[in-house]
């Protein structure tokens, strides 16, 4: 409970720092998309991703699975690839993800981000309901 609050504060702090210091929206899909489109363009996305991945690797070394639980349940690599492609397609179609729309967009009162966030949270809950309850066992 407290760790969730502290974690949320840190994510908010990160987004505030990115915006106030560099006028960048701290969205993970946006950073990745920006970096992949122009690796030698603005230095911000690349360094943001380096900080994100580097810190995660460090935390994993220091505290193991308690910090970076990489468990993906019983999903096979094939399903993860399909899921990853869908996430990539959706975030580019809607110009953002949980961080770009959900954290940054909603915080600054963007109507587009609010619509996007409500949409993906509703669909995510629906998919969880379908795969866990309505059609439990149908998805390998």
């Amino acid at each position: 409970m407290l760790s969730a609050l502290l974690g949320g504060l840190l994510i908010g702090l990160s987004a505030s720092l990115a915006w106030s210091g560099a006028r960048q929206v701290a969205g993970i899909s946006g950073m990745l998309g920006g970096f992949l489109r122009a690796p030698w363009g603005s230095p911000f996305p690349g360094w943001f991703l380096a900080g994100l991945v580097g810190t995660s690797l460090l935390l994993g070394r220091v505290n193991g699975a308690a910090w970076t639980n990489a468990s993906v349940g019983s999903r096979s690599i094939g399903w993860l690839l399909v899921a990853g492609l869908l996430v990539g397609f959706g975030t580019q179609l809607s110009n953002g993800c949980t961080s770009g729309h959900g954290v940054c967009g909603v915080s600054r009162g963007s109507a587009r981000s609010l619509v996007a966030t409500l949409t993906f949270m509703t669909v995510a809950a629906l998919v969880v309901f379908l795969t866990r309850h309505a059609f439990a066992g149908a998805v390998p």
Partner: protein, 38 residues
């Protein structure tokens, strides 16, 4: 130059926040999204 440091720092803070809040654990995220109960 400052773009690099702001990028590195905000990326690191984001990772700390995700890890601390438990959002790096897919099970926790799925449990949150599971409105139908456990």
């Amino acid at each position: 130059m400052s773009q690099r440091w702001f990028g590195l720092a905000s990326g690191a803070l984001f990772a700390l926040g995700l890890a601390l809040s438990g959002m790096t654990d897919p099970g926790k995220v799925l449990a949150f999204l599971d409105v139908g109960g456990a």
